[in-house]
């Protein structure tokens, strides 16, 4: 019975994207994308730089409106929500930006306390306890008096993570959390993401092109390229994909379906004749 209920909940996606089309100018960023994010799981969206992975998170968060298609988050059509509805929905989501996006004029403690002070009427003593607990979860309780400018990149992201979970959201979106991290902070972030997802029963959406780290923790992954989903499945399925393009992307090969050379006339012609 329990397992039945379990499979029921996994069939109910928290985010359901159907036929998503989004254009920037006349250039299609998404051209008919279908994605399901399962409740309680860690789902990765992977793809080369410039494929609009961050744009996808902004579409899910309602910061951008799609040109066609539907985005349903927790039963609500994001693109149809008004300002108030959208802000209500966002209280149930957390988002971790690429560089943390901490407010630079207040310290770590106040950054983590910020959503609590804005959205709740909790007494200051309780806010203090909650903030310290969230900071403890990301291992930075000792840094609560530092200013954002005194933090390393990895620490900023962990503080931003504590801030993102301060209202206990149902879902958290990570925008390239591993980019530009040294191996130690990378390891810390990778294990932190996984532990938080499991311990808090969160749903996580992870956008990244750090293939190895992402596939090591993800439950399900989508690979996007040129506006379409080119592959999706579990980490194993992605690794064993038959698509040459996915193979090149996953293994980081310099030549393949994505050529090493940007399209150009023959070298000899170029050298002899020029422009």
């Amino acid at each position: 019975m329990a397992s039945n209920a379990d499979s029921q909940s996994t069939r109910d996606p928290i985010v359901q994207i159907r036929g998503l089309r989004y254009f920037r100018g006349s250039r299609p960023i998404f051209d008919g994308v279908d994605i399901d994010i399962t409740r309680g799981k860690l789902t990765a969206i992977m793809g080369p730089s410039g494929t609009g992975k961050t744009t996808l998170l902004r579409l899910i968060g309602g910061q951008l409106r799609p040109d066609a298609g539907s985005i349903i988050v927790d039963g609500e059509r994001v693109e149809k929500l008004d300002h108030k509805g959208l802000y209500q929905l966002r209280k149930r989501m957390g988002m971790l930006f690429q560089n943390g996006a901490l407010l630079t004029d207040i310290n770590v403690f106040d950054n983590v306390a910020f959503p609590l002070r804005e959205h709740t009427r909790l007494p200051e003593s309780m806010i203090r306890d909650l903030v310290l607990m969230k900071l403890q979860a990301v291992g930075l309780r000792g840094a609560h008096k530092l200013m954002p400018s005194e933090l390393s990149g990895g620490m900023s992201r962990r503080v931003a993570l504590a801030r993102a979970i301060s209202l206990d959201p149902m879902m958290i979106m990570y925008d390239e959390p591993f980019t530009g991290q040294d191996p130690i902070s990378m390891g810390v972030l990778v294990s932190l993401l996984k532990r938080l997802n499991d311990a808090l029963n969160l749903t996580s959406v992870l956008v990244s092109h750090d293939v190895k780290e992402t596939l090591s923790i993800t439950d399900y992954a989508y690979v996007i390229s040129e506006g379409k989903v080119v592959e999706h499945g579990t980490a194993e399925a992605i690794k064993n994909s038959k698509s040459e393009w996915v193979h090149q992307f996953i293994h980081g090969e310099s030549d393949g379906p994505v050529p090493f050379h940007y399209s150009a006339p023959e070298l000899m012609d170029d050298l002899m004749h020029g422009d």
């Binding site: 802000y87 988002m95 930006f97 560089n99 901490l102 804005e118 931003a160």
Partner: protein, 259 residues
Amino acid sequence: MLDALQRLGSASITTLERLGRGHLFLLHVLTGIPGLVRRLGLVVYQIYSVGVLSLLIIGVAGLFVGMVLALQGYNTLVDFGAEESLGVLVALSLVRELGPVVASLLFAGRAGSALTAEIGLMKATEQLSALEMMAVDPLHRIVAPRFLAGFIALPLLAALFSAVGVLGAHFVGVGLLGVDEGAFWSQMQAKIDLHEDVYNGVIKSLVFGVVCTWIALFQGYDAVPTSEGVSGATTRTVVHSALAVLGLDFVLTALMFGE
């Protein structure tokens, strides 16, 4: 020919779009003002930031403008034996025109550019996006307190500019050039009308306060989120504010005194 027409059309549409966005931005910010009653702390901090920190430049500029006015005015008036009207000349010039206008120009350079750079950088570092995703409206939480602070601070700064200017003129006129002190003050008191002169000056500075702060905040909020974008927006803030203040000053003067 067609190309030129197309470019003209495209530039016009871009400008109109920007103007429209600017007005929607202002409306959205204004809806956030009532909510600031519960957050006076935010407004007070911003008044400190745009107002108190501008005191030095406003004070020094006011002092020198007053001193120069006194010197120039004295040289002209003395030919007609009317140097005792120096106080009126200086006070009228300051209260009606130079106080609001020069204070606004300095405000745009000192506080407006800082507001644009701050908001632009918050946009570039995704802080504004992060606020939106935390279900906090950046226009209400970040922009509205700054807008209200500019609206409150500029008239005060303009008043201070005029007051310090009069003191500067007193120092030069009475102290150095030997104008009679009693005549200096009593003529000023008799000839300056509270409604006609002082209130109109205050109305001007309130209008300039709205315009300068609006331009500064909108330029920051609408900036392209890169270093060039923010630097361009900061420049535009100063240029647009200066032009808007001078243009509006003419219009307001014509409306107030142009009979």
